[in-house]
């Protein structure tokens, strides 16, 4: 009994290691496919469209509301200490450092990541990937690589849009509705938010999230069991794994970047 349990533990451990290995091989394959992107920029444009342009609406609306909530909540807390002028700092710093990259990554994982997984999984289930292989076309380079780089490009831009719209939302609530002084809103923000430490790090964060979210989505699709049940499970796993990875990595990156 004990040995059986041990064997089962060992087997699942080995299985996980094997999956991890396959995922890294896939990543290496996609990175090596970068030449393909340069030869056919049209493929990349189509994927930036799918992942980026089609996510703009949800990112813009969410950013606006998150910024407005930050403005409202921040005002009530800061006003107790007579520091309502710092509202701009609070809204901007939390958006640029954390909420922008993280919430954008979660939204993209839900909207575009799941779609990528389902698309790749169905292409596998309907033998389109094998069909490409039989036409002597590498599906990793032709189908997966453009999607990977599309996600990598789209994510930081979406995160920047989220933060920018969020700051404007915070401005609207704080200055427009609650009467914080417009001048100090901006000047405090500018004196405390640092370009290198906050903005650049935020962009780096969201680029990392872009890699992770699209990588997980594509791997889950590529590794899915080619049946309708397998694809549906892979889609669920894609979103769950991507969300966990983003939150976990966010902690690690924050510790590395802002920990001094």
């Amino acid at each position: 009994m004990l040995l059986d349990g041990l064997a089962r533990l060992g087997r699942s451990g080995l299985g996980a290691l094997e999956r991890l290995g396959r995922a890294h091989l896939l990543l290496a394959g996609m990175l090596l496919g970068v030449g393909e992107i340069l030869r056919r920029p049209g493929l990349l444009a189509a994927q930036v469209f799918n992942i980026g342009v089609l996510s703009m609406l949800i990112i813009g609306v969410s950013g606006l509301f998150v910024g407005m909530v930050l403005g409202l909540q921040g005002y009530y807390v800061l006003a107790q200490f007579g520091a309502a002028e710092s509202l701009g700092v609070m809204v901007a710093a939390s958006l640029v450092r954390e909420l922008g990259p993280v919430v954008t990554a979660l939204l993209v994982a839900g909207r575009a990541g799941s779609a990528l997984t389902a698309e790749i999984g169905l292409m596998k289930a309907t033998e389109q990937l094998s069909g490409l292989e039989m036409m002597a076309v590498d599906p990793v380079r032709r189908i997966l690589t453009p999607r990977f780089f599309g996600g990598l490009i789209a994510m930081p831009l979406l995160a920047a849009m989220f933060s920018a719209v969020g700051v404007l939302g915070g401005y609207f609530v704080g200055v427009g509705l609650l009467g914080v002084d417009s001048g100090s809103f901006w000047s405090q923000m500018q004196s405390k938010v640092d370009f290198h430490e906050d903005i650049v790090n935020g962009v780096v964060k969201s680029a990392v999230f872009g890699v992770v979210v699209t990588w997980i989505a594509l791997f889950q699709g590529h590794d899915s069991v080619p049946t309708s049940e397998g694809v549906s499970r892979a889609t669920t796993r894609s979103v769950v794994h991507a969300a966990l990875a983003v939150l976990g990595l966010d902690f690690v990156l924050t510790a590395l970047m802002f920990g001094d």
């Binding site: 980026g52 703009m56 640029v96 930081p156 849009m161 920018a164 700051v167 500018q190 405390k192």
Partner: protein, 154 residues
């Protein structure tokens, strides 16, 4: 081909919007517009204690920001803190007998360097050292001294 072109235009629009957002964050939200680091001139000042003064802390005269701390380092010969300050290019009339203090904004606020101009007709230039400095007031030391003097007075 019309569809492909439409996609390309929208992708171009998307990228442009993204870069505008980044530009907005850089110029309007962060200090990039204020901290164009290569401009202005550099001064140094030695303090026996700088408290929690850090790079990019503000440097002000009469309460107005005129520059930023560029670097804080330790001189192992004299056991002093060497603070490098970048002064904005427009402010080029700081007398050479100016007094530099490390102050705290409010009781628990951020620390900054305050410059109090002297009366000398000579102005400080790039690379000069501010001779007169006063260190940061450390709250614990002040409380300690206060208690000590109280105890001594009795």
């Amino acid at each position: 081909m019309g569809k492909q072109r439409g996609i390309e235009i929208l992708v171009g629009l998307f990228m442009a919007t993204g870069f505008v957002a980044l530009f907005f964050l850089a110029m309007q939200v962060s200090n990039l517009s204020a901290a164009v680091n290569s401009e202005g001139y550099r001064l140094t000042a030695r303090f026996s204690n700088v408290g929690s003064l850090k790079a990019r802390s503000p440097v002000s005269m009469a309460g107005v920001r005129v520059g930023r701390v560029e670097d804080v380092s330790f001189d192992k010969e004299t056991y002093e803190a060497v603070v490098t300050i970048r002064i904005d290019p427009g402010v080029d009339t700081i007398p050479d007998d100016t007094f530099a203090n490390v102050f705290t904004a409010g009781l628990l606020g951020e620390q900054y360097v305050s410059l109090e101009p002297g009366g000398s007709p000579e102005y400080l230039r790039d690379g000069d050292e501010i001779a007169h400095t006063q260190s940061a007031l450390i709250l614990e030391q002040m409380i300690g001294q206060f208690l000590f003097s109280k105890a001594g007075g009795e």
